[in-house]
């Protein structure tokens, strides 16, 4: 089945086209089932591919390419023929992420049938969701960076369309523009990186670029630029600081859309890109360190912002940003497997959280947690699933989130202890605010009786996906880390060669460690059916991805403590303790509430650019146009006037003089001859002729 991997991207695309053009817009249209069936087929296909990959019966990576277009260019003066290809590249991460994307998309679509019921653009929503899924899958399976970039941009489009789905309101319109612009800012970096890659390597094929790096042909400067570009692109899409400002506002879109895009899949695209092009980062260790710190900062900042937010979806948005920071940090410190593992588990429990939040919102018709409370009795299924998801994200042991988060923290600890303490604090904050969310929403007495009265459990189409995702949140972590499956699926790429000028100690460290493991790792990569023992040889993954014992217990204690703290603050109907804190620390609260003034910074930047543009326009219209254009015109007029005068004075006078001379000479000659006397004329003719004839005859 693995050779039909390309269908996984094409089927949802076809479904979205069918739904968009062939079905009528109808609030109760049956068209969405086309998308759901398509997605189910893709899920089946992805599961078969994943099982094939996991069982080790396939020789990874499986690449299949078709010729797309070709052109001739000259390289160093010699003609060279570039053949661009489109194709699929299936390896561990791709197979795993295919399953994740198709599964979450399927859950979201089933859920949306009930959630978007009666919306006037019901059918279009599903077309957009299918379209998005198709482009995300296109990114995941693509063997070619150019096609991946195209899918990247299409995802941006789908995100734009879904954020601004209810475009009659101002909020979604502003949010969709903000999202598009901010991600586009990141995409400029990605584009730059692609240009550099093509200029240096001459191809966009991932396998060829990897080979290029492996042979050490990439000069150090270009490697850094490419890595920075790719990182910038990832920062835009995956909402790293400072380009995260669009994600909280993106919550204006429908909740299932947010679940799919801004929680589980699209925002993971940046992380996935970094992972796919991990060899690029390995060749530029400076950028990898930068990525780690950016991820760390993002995680911390976002978690802090989530502490003070009352909108249920906003909290989840900040939580997403924070977890993405975790993933980026993991990749930055070299924890390839940890980062992608967390991506997988996060997809499940974050999608669950969003869908459950959507269920709550659908029931009480508000996002504000201050108006909720005590909903656990009214919406038991939602409560239980959301509780489980919160436990997972907080890092409660044996749930999926704990495994992945532990692995990340373990990697961070070995690399940078300072970073570890920040991440530990962030993990505590995560536990705190997530449980705050659960407590405020579901426990205690209700704060708004009217809403509480009308609250009800959501229909099966909504709770069904919740249950399935909850199940996955429970077991996926355990299943994947059992028998080192996750290490088999997501082997860290070996660093075969560094750049032309190895520089920092990190590079040497990273080079030395895998160099020793290189022969074994090569064997491991060549024959994926390796034993569990090889998992221990993944240096840089630090001791099988586990924290040293005492640290592990410290983490668990810290998380437990955070949960307890949260319970104390928010258990009551009025969270008086929290409010007291808030009033005492109001400057801090303002800082967090205003999202660390990032929005204001961007706003100022935009205003500044606007001023610059206005200035440039003023210069252009008043200075440049006046001097160069109008001035030139004036100069031309003056020149032509001068030319005209000269012409009249000099040229015309000369012409007239010539004429005058001719006339004068004629008159003069005529005055010699008496007027009208024919014989006189004849005499002159005779004189001239005789003279001429005689002279000729004589001489």
């Amino acid at each position: 089945m693995i050779e039909y991997a390309y269908l996984v991207a094409l089927i949802p695309f076809a479904a979205s086209l069918i739904m968009l053009f062939a079905a009528k817009e109808d609030p109760h249209s049956p068209a969405p089932w086309i998308g759901i069936v398509a997605m189910a087929v893709c899920l089946g296909l992805s599961l078969s591919i994943l099982s094939a990959v996991a069982s080790g019966s396939v020789d990874l990576p499986v690449e299949k390419n078709w010729d797309w277009f070709s052109f001739a260019a000259s390289v160093d003066g010699k003609p060279f023929f570039h053949g661009m290809k489109v194709g699929t590249l299936i390896d561990g991460p791709a197979a795993l992420l295919m399953v994740v994307v198709t599964l979450v998309s399927l859950m979201v679509q089933i859920y949306s049938i009930a959630y978007m019921h009666g919306d006037k653009r019901f059918k279009r929503y599903f077309a957009f969701v299918s379209f998005f899924t198709a482009s995300m899958l296109g990114l995941v399976i693509s063997s070619n960076l150019l096609v991946a970039f195209m899918s990247w941009e299409l995802m941006g489009l789908a995100s734009y369309l879904l954020i601004g789905f209810w475009f009659e309101k101002d909020g979604p319109c502003e949010a969709q523009k903000k999202a598009f612009m901010t991600t586009k800012l990141g995409d400029s970096g990605l584009y730059l990186a692609l240009l550099f890659i093509f200029a240096k390597v001459g191809s966009f094929q991932l396998s060829q670029i990897k080979q290029f790096y492996a042979m050490g042909y990439m000069p150090a400067g270009a490697a850094v630029v490419i890595a920075i570009g790719l990182l910038f692109g990832a920062m835009g899409k995956s909402a790293q600081a400072p380009l995260f400002v669009w994600l909280p506002d993106a919550m204006e879109g429908p909740t299932p859309g947010s679940a799919l895009i801004h929680a589980a899949t699209m925002v993971a695209a940046g992380i996935f890109l970094v992972a796919r092009t991990f060899f690029v980062f390995q060749a530029a260790p400076v950028v990898m360190d930068a990525a780690a710190w950016i991820g760390c900062a993002t995680a911390f900042l976002a978690a802090s912002m989530a502490l003070v937010s009352y909108d249920i979806k906003r909290v989840l948005a900040f939580s997403t940003i924070s977890q993405l920071g975790f993933m980026m940090c993991a990749l930055g410190v070299g924890g390839y497997t940890a980062g992608l593992f967390h991506l997988t588990t996060h997809a499940f429990f974050k999608a669950l959280l969003f869908l459950a939040a959507g269920s709550v919102i659908h029931s009480v018709h508000t996002n504000d947690m201050r108006l909720m409370g005590g909903l656990s009795r009214k919406m038991p299924v939602t409560f239980v699933t959301m509780f489980l998801a919160t436990c997972a994200i907080a890092g409660v042991p044996y749930l999926s989130g704990a495994y992945s988060k532990d692995m990340i923290l373990a990697n961070v600890w070995t690399r940078n202890p300072a970073m570890f303490w920040i991440m530990l604090t962030t993990a505590c904050m995560t536990a705190f605010y997530m449980f705050r969310l659960v407590f405020l929403t579901f426990t205690g007495a209700d704060r708004d009786h009217e809403k509480h009265h009308h609250a009800h459990e959501s229909p099966f189409l909504m709770t069904g996906p919740l249950v399935l995702l909850a199940f996955l949140s429970l077991v996926s972590g355990y299943v994947l880390s059992r028998n080192g499956l996750i290490h088999a699926l997501l082997p860290k790429p070996a660093l075969s060669a560094v750049t032309a000028t190895p520089s920092t100690s990190h590079a040497e460290h990273a080079a030395a460690a895998p160099a020793a493991a290189h022969p074994e790792h090569q064997a491991a990569a060549a024959a994926p059916s390796h034993e569990i023992a090889s998992a221990s040889r993944h240096h840089g993954e630090s001791h099988d991805g586990h924290l040293p014992g005492w640290l592990h217990y410290l983490l668990m204690a810290a998380i437990a403590g955070s949960i307890l703290l949260s319970y104390m603050f928010y258990k009551g109907p009025d969270y008086a303790l929290a409010l007291a804190f808030k009033s005492n620390l109001s400057p801090l609260f303002t800082l967090l509430d205003r999202r660390w003034f990032f929005d204001d910074a961007f706003d100022a930047l935009v205003k500044f650019c606007d001023r610059v543009a206005a200035l440039a326009f003023w210069i252009d219209s008043n200075v440049v146009d006046r001097i160069f254009v109008d001035g030139w015109g004036l100069l031309m007029r003056i020149v032509s006037e001068i030319s005209n005068v000269l012409d009249a004075l000099l040229v015309d006078r000369t012409v007239d003089r010539f004429g005058g001379v001719t006339v004068g000479s004629g008159v003069l000659l005529r005055s010699l001859v008496e007027d009208g006397q024919i014989q006189e004329y004849l005499l002159y003719v005779a004189i001239a002729f005789s003279l001429a004839a005689t002279l000729i005859l004589i001489y």
């Binding site: 006397q677 024919i678 005779a686």
Partner: protein
């Protein structure tokens, strides 16, 4: 008699004809001088025929043509003179100054 003799006679007649054409006041006098010039040319033609190209009569034939043309010309000239005389009542060349201007 050499050719030079005949040519000399012709030359003399021609020159006299030129003198007359340039100096005679009477239009008829001018026309007569022109006739003299024609005759001079004819003498030359006949002489050349006799002295230079004795075989054939080309010169004489050409002289014949000249005579014919001269006749035609003087006829027209006299006719014109008569017409002008009717208008201006004078036959003197200096009075024919209508080209003045």
């Amino acid at each position: 008699m050499t050719l030079a003799h005949y040519m000399g006679v012709a030359a003399a007649l021609f020159l006299i004809g030129i003198f007359g054409a340039l100096t005679r006041r009477n239009i008829i006098g001018i026309l007569m001088s022109i006739e003299l010039m024609f005759n001079a040319a004819n003498i030359n033609l006949a002489a050349f025929n006799r002295f230079l190209h004795p075989v054939g009569v080309t010169g004489q034939t050409l002289a014949l043509f000249v005579i014919t043309v001269a006749a035609a010309e003087i006829v027209v000239g006299l006719a014109l003179l008569l017409a002008i005389y009717r208008g201006t009542n004078t036959v003197y060349a200096e009075d024919y100054n209508l080209l003045k201007g």
